[in-house]
Symmetry: C2
Subunit: 112 residues, 2 copies
DNA sequence: CTAACGTACAACCATATGGTTGTAGATGAG
DNA sequence: CTCATCTACAACCATATGGTTGTACGTTAG
C-alpha cells in the first residue's frame, strides 16, 4: 500500500462522526464490539462495518478474548494524521518564508 | 451546520490525494482553477469538483480576477483539523492519567 | 467585433458507501 | 449438553462519490 493510499484510508476513516466517537472511546479504554454497538442507534452489523473501516486504517486493533473481540485505539496512527497535516502546513510556512525573504532581501531594482 | 458536520466535511475533503495536493499547492501560493486542472490527469470539470469539495470544507477560498478564479489555501482550517485530532488524543491522555493515578494512588485494600 | 479562454453547471455513468436483514459458526454460562 | 451471546459475513438497497461529456456564459486578447 502506498503512502497516499494509507493516508486516504486514515482521513476517510475519520470522516464519519460515529467512527470518530468509536476512536475516542477505545483510546480511553477497551470495549468489545458489542459494547460499542449498544451505544449507537444502528444495527450491530453497521457498527461492525465501522470498526472494520477503522481497522483497515490502523486506527484500532482487535483481539479475541473469550467470545468477544476487544477493540483498542492506536494512538500512534492518530499522531500519523497529525504529522500528515504538519506536512501540509510546512508548505505554507515555506511560502511565508519566501515572502519574508523578498521583504528582507537586497534592495535590487527598487526605486528604479 | 453542526460541528460534527463540518468535521465530516474537513476529513472527507482531505481523504483524496488529488485534493490534498491541491491544498498543498494553494498553501504555497495562488493558482487559478485552470492552473490546477492542467496538473492532473483528469478533466477540468473533475478538478472543478475537487475544488468545490475543498471550498465547502473551508479549506480554500476562491475569488475572481479577470476571467480566472484564484484559489487560496486557508491555513486556519488545516489547523482546525489538528485541533480536532488533539481532542481525540486528549481522551487517550486522560486514560493514561487515570492509569497513573491508580499506580500512584493510596495503598487502600492492598495486601488485604 | 470576434475568437479564444476560463468557468459554471447539468446530465449521465460506474462504483463506493452506509445502512439493513438474515444465516451460520464459536464460545461461555448453567 | 444446551442455550444464549458475540461475532462474521453475505445479500440487498438507496444514496453519495468521482469521473465523464456537452452546453452556455462572462471576460480578455487581438
Amino acid at each position: 500500500m502506498t503512502k497516499a493510499e494509507r493516508t486516504d484510508l486514515l482521513f476517510h476513516a475519520l470522516s464519519d462522526a460515529t467512527r470518530r466517537d468509536i476512536v475516542r472511546l477505545v483510546l480511553q479504554g477497551e470495549h468489545s464490539v458489542s459494547d460499542l454497538a449498544r451505544r449507537y442507534p444502528m444495527s450491530f452489523a453497521a457498527v461492525q462495518k465501522h470498526v472494520a473501516v477503522l481497522e483497515r486504517a490502523d486506527l484500532i486493533t482487535k483481539h479475541q478474548r473469550g467470545r468477544e473481540r476487544i477493540v483498542r485505539g492506536r494512538i500512534d496512527s492518530v499522531r500519523d494524521v497529525n504529522r500528515l497535516l504538519d506536512e501540509l502546513e510546512a508548505n505554507w510556512r515555506n511560502r511565508i518564508q519566501r515572502f519574508g525573504d523578498v521583504l528582507a532581501g537586497p534592495d535590487e531594482g527598487e526605486h528604479s
